[in-house]
Symmetry: C2
């Protein structure tokens, strides 16, 4: 049973994060400062140290939260499509990534770009757990598509040693039948989903394309087609 004080603490802690995200969305990475957050909350900057040990601590929490939200949404989009339709699930995953990125460009930059001036991420990265989930999600999609995709890939010379040992152990435990080339394919799919979205979010696609959504959709269709689905 949480005391009133505990509940208040949690609420304030959440409010700090919420306002930090709002400042991020409104003013970009530079706008996220302890003083700015405190100002917006009607507090003193020093008060935040009652909730986060340091500015970078807060940023790390933010990145982790945001990455988790992204993965939640992307997994949900995938699960809205039947497992009988691996191609649909891949496309849904990709489209969900883009939809989220377009809806939350500042958060996308926080995760995949330079987060905030002077920020030093903790060893292992600020959002290992969420990134791992994203990665295994992609491997799952690849595994489902592999029966069709295999014949379209050059699998001969790919070895497990090209990948991180922990990742390999995990993948082989969950999908014992999968060859190393499939893991490579999963990472390449990640790159393919990331590329156009990153270009668009950072403003490099807008001068060229009037319909980035369609461009991305075409790319996703081409992706599943190249998988033989």
């Amino acid at each position: 049973m949480k005391s009133r004080r505990e509940r208040m603490r949690e609420q304030t802690s959440e409010e700090i994060k919420a306002i930090a995200l709002r400042l991020l969305a409104e003013g970009g990475p530079d706008a996220v400062s302890l003083r700015g957050i405190a100002r917006d909350m009607g507090m003193t900057a020093g008060a935040i140290y009652g909730y986060y040990a340091t500015r970078d601590d807060l940023i790390t929490t933010l990145i982790s939260d945001v990455y988790t939200a992204l993965v939640d949404q992307v997994e949900a989009a995938r699960d809205a499509i039947s497992v009988e339709d691996p191609a649909g699930r891949i496309v849904a995953w990709g489209e969900a990534v883009r939809d989220w990125a377009i809806a939350h460009p500042a958060e996308f930059r926080l995760i995949y770009g330079d987060p905030v001036p002077g920020y030093q991420p903790p060893p292992g990265g600020p959002a290992v757990a969420a990134e791992m989930r994203a990665c295994t999600g992609l491997v799952g999609l690849t595994a489902a598509a592999w029966p069709h995709a295999e014949s379209h890939q050059t699998i001969g010379d790919t070895t497990w040693s090209e990948f991180d040992a922990d990742l390999v152990a995990h993948v082989r435990a969950v999908f014992p039948e999968l060859p190393p080339a499939a893991l490579g394919l999963a990472l390449r799919m990640w790159g393919r989903m990331h590329g156009l979205v990153a270009l668009e979010v950072y403003g490099h696609l807008i001068p060229q394309s009037r319909d980035p959504a369609k461009l991305f959709h075409t790319e996703m269709l081409d992706l599943v087609r190249s998988l033989g689905l």
Copy 2:
């Protein structure tokens, strides 16, 4: 005939940029400040205003220079391969992008990420010219591959209206035979080359892959294969 003073001016102007780039490479975006540059040059911060009207002016010049250097290198890599080998030229282009990015990660971030805290790019973007060159280069590669690629693409419902009018005018002038779907393909190729490189430069691939170079190479081979080359 340039006077001695003029030559000195140019030299100092170049030195400012060179030191800014060194600081960027060594200390990240936050390290690029007029005071930091002046300190490194043994000058006063105010002296820089004799060369650049404002900090953002300098950054804009920097971005433009760096983007130009990238495009120079990428075009050279392409031109090292015979026009008889469109697939080889595409792969060379992609590999050159990655090689440059890995050799100059800070510069890559300057171009494709958030450049520097507080930087406000000029209208039209800081490196329109270089980006246009990159874009037309990709369209050229696509045009060369189109005879083989066409049958592998879904071209039916792509229209010119999905793209920027100026870009379309330029493309149609240079490659009158090319359909709109080819322009879409060029942009998607851009995304495909960008994705894995961006992930790697920003540290999202390293925890997973021990050999990102090979992963990227596989992706490029898959790209030309999917073009029917």
